[in-house]
């Protein structure tokens, strides 16, 4: 594995090539986004009683994309304006020439509607989906026991979802942020639970003998991949999100953990220590088939997460006694480190350009192109195992 301190430019070239090719394929791309040139979006202060707050949120959201530079007034390549009411944001985006790009009402509370407006601007000017309106779930031991928390990706509106006083772990949000699956020792054993976030209803969906852990929603939300040790060894299984008997995917003497789905839902990447230390493998998401080992050049690789565009797999790796985030390029089969100050449990955002990860009890948002990490400020500590909706 290449340490990026020694060859940052090479890595950036590769990532930019990947990103640029996706822009070329996008019919919605309005301008070419190159790494050194940010799209300048001028923000006319939003009107309404919550206008000042919404303007600040909009500016922060656009800046966080890493592809947009929010500027004031009419000096940008685009001009954003709008009106904030209690029921939503009426947002407009125009080109510098005055030509209208969109005029749309985003319903919801001011803050949530502003995030939707930011994502619409991001999509319009970069061609990539934004992640400002994404939800973030994670585990925190802030109150003593490990509990499940849910909030906005910018760290706002964070609240505890569970108050069980037992170990809970490995949450996975579905893409729409309507459901959450995770591991809890509520019964005394590690079992998998499914929470309906609209009703608050919680069901125990996997409670086989042994461990039931590390659930992961398929892209369409219809299936959940997980680790079960019911047959005598921790292996990856897939079961329907509406229940039923799990189908076995792996069959080894080692431990298989942390399955993550390809965006097409037909393959799984997971970690297996069948050959000694944990390594990454890709298998079909149905039935036991031959596994494809991903050579990362490092002997300890766990917790993979497949990017929404299918091109990259982020993972946790151990180098010189420290845990760092690496990225595996699916097409070129090259792996690179993208952190140098530590990190683990990466989770992609909708744009396939940012990762949320944890390091020493704090959550960070990492731009894999610029390698900049920003802390996600929440009011609580002891945070880990983030999962992000699309």
């Amino acid at each position: 594995m290449t340490d990026l301190n020694s060859s940052p430019s090479l890595f950036r070239t590769i990532v930019f090539t990947v990103l640029l090719s996706s822009f070329c394929l996008s019919a919605h791309a309005q301008v070419d986004v190159s790494p050194n040139v940010l799209v300048r979006v001028g923000i006319t202060p939003l009107s309404g009683s919550e206008g000042k707050m919404a303007t600040e949120v909009l500016s922060a959201d656009l800046k966080r994309t890493g592809m947009i530079s929010p500027v004031s007034g009419g000096s940008g390549d685009y001009i954003a304006s709008g009106e904030v009411t209690d029921s939503g944001v009426a947002g407009k985006l125009s080109k510098k020439s005055g030509e209208q790009v969109f005029s749309q009402t985003f319903s919801g509370k001011p803050r949530a509607a502003t995030h939707e407006f930011a994502d619409a601007i991001t999509k319009a000017v970069t061609g990539l989906p934004g992640f400002a309106s994404s939800k973030l779930a994670f585990i925190s031991s802030s109150g003593g026991a490990k509990e499940l928390y849910l909030g906005d990706i910018d760290g706002y509106n964070v609240r505890a979802i569970t108050h069980d006083g037992v170990i809970c772990a490995s949450p996975s949000l579905n893409h729409e942020a309507t459901k959450l699956t995770y591991t809890s020792y509520k019964s005394g054993y590690p079992d998998i639970y499914l929470i309906d976030l609209a009703s608050g209803g919680r069901n125990r969906i996997a409670f086989f003998p042994g461990i039931n852990s590390g659930p992961s929603f398929s892209p369409d939300g219809s299936q959940i991949a997980m680790t079960l040790s019911k047959d005598g060894n921790p292996e990856v299984y897939v079961m329907s999100a509406s229940g039923g008997s799990p189908e076995r995917i792996t069959r080894t003497r080692g431990a298989e953990t942390s399955p993550s789905w390809s965006p097409t839902g037909d393959r799984l990447v997971y970690s297996s220590d069948d050959r000694g230390s944990p390594q990454l493998f890709i298998s079909s998401a149905s039935g036991v088939t031959e596994a494809d080992r991903l050579v990362t050049g490092n002997s300890y690789c766990t917790k993979p997460d497949w990017s929404p565009d299918g091109k990259l797999i982020a993972f946790t790796t151990r180098i010189g006694g420290q845990f760092q985030i690496g990225v595996f390029d699916v097409a070129s089969r090259n792996a690179h480190l993208i952190t140098t100050s530590g990190g683990q449990d990466p989770a992609w955002t909708a744009d396939s350009r940012h990762l949320v990860y944890s390091n020493n009890g704090r959550l960070y948002l990492l731009d894999v192109v610029s390698h900049q990490s920003l802390p996600i400020e929440t009011s609580i500590s002891g945070n880990g195992e983030p999962t992000v909706s699309r």
């Binding site: 772990a169 591991t183 005394g188 003998p209 852990s213 040790s229 047959d231 970690s271 195992e385």
Partner: protein, 183 residues
């Protein structure tokens, strides 16, 4: 050339010849019997995954309350980093566990696997389970019925020792041998 090498060559040559003769091609061919005739594929398979788990203890058994880890506390098995192999020096403890079970029949054991805090929680949970299962398989090999051996993994969530020292980590990579006190 040693005998092993010669044997390998003979097997390879036999397979090559078998491959050349269309009358011998058989998708189910699994080898030669002592009289030189192909063995039938009887569908028998070994499960490489280990001994299947028992159903969880019945009734209102609660693993966080109904297990006594104090009786065999001195037989806690310790492991190397990222390993579920029982170190040779730890195996005498398991012989002691077998002696204890002989002296205290009709007891079932609850084997609780743990990992140190380093690394991703999910892998650590599976590593703890692998360690508990390794102890279960070892005890089963010493004649203890697998049906009386239950496992749980707490991953890195229940350290014996807090702290970030190598000493603390070493004390946390363990399998506790618990005695089920209510079932």
């Amino acid at each position: 050339m040693n005998k092993k090498c010669l044997a390998s060559l003979l097997i390879a040559a036999t397979l090559a010849l078998a491959g050349c003769d269309p009358s011998k091609s058989n998708a189910n061919f699994t080898g030669m019997g002592p009289d030189g005739t192909p063995l039938p594929d009887n569908g028998d398979k070994v499960d490489l995954s280990g001994i299947p788990q028992n159903a969880r203890p019945g009734g209102d058994f609660d693993p966080s309350k109904d297990v006594d880890y104090s009786k065999l506390a001195s037989d806690t098995i310790y492991f190397a980093f990222d390993s579920s192999t029982i170190p040779g020096a730890e195996r005498t403890k398991l012989a002691h566990v077998v002696d204890w079970l002989k002296a205290n029949p009709n007891h079932s054991l609850f084997l609780a696997g743990h990992a140190d805090k380093r690394g991703t929680p999910e892998y650590n949970r599976a590593l703890g389970e692998r360690r508990a299962l390794a102890v279960r398989e070892y005890l089963a090999g010493l004649g203890i019925p697998a049906s009386t051996l239950f496992t749980i993994s707490y991953g890195s969530d229940r350290p014996a020792e807090q702290g970030d020292s190598e000493e603390a980590y070493a004390k946390n990579r363990r399998v506790q041998i618990g005695v089920i006190i209510k079932q």
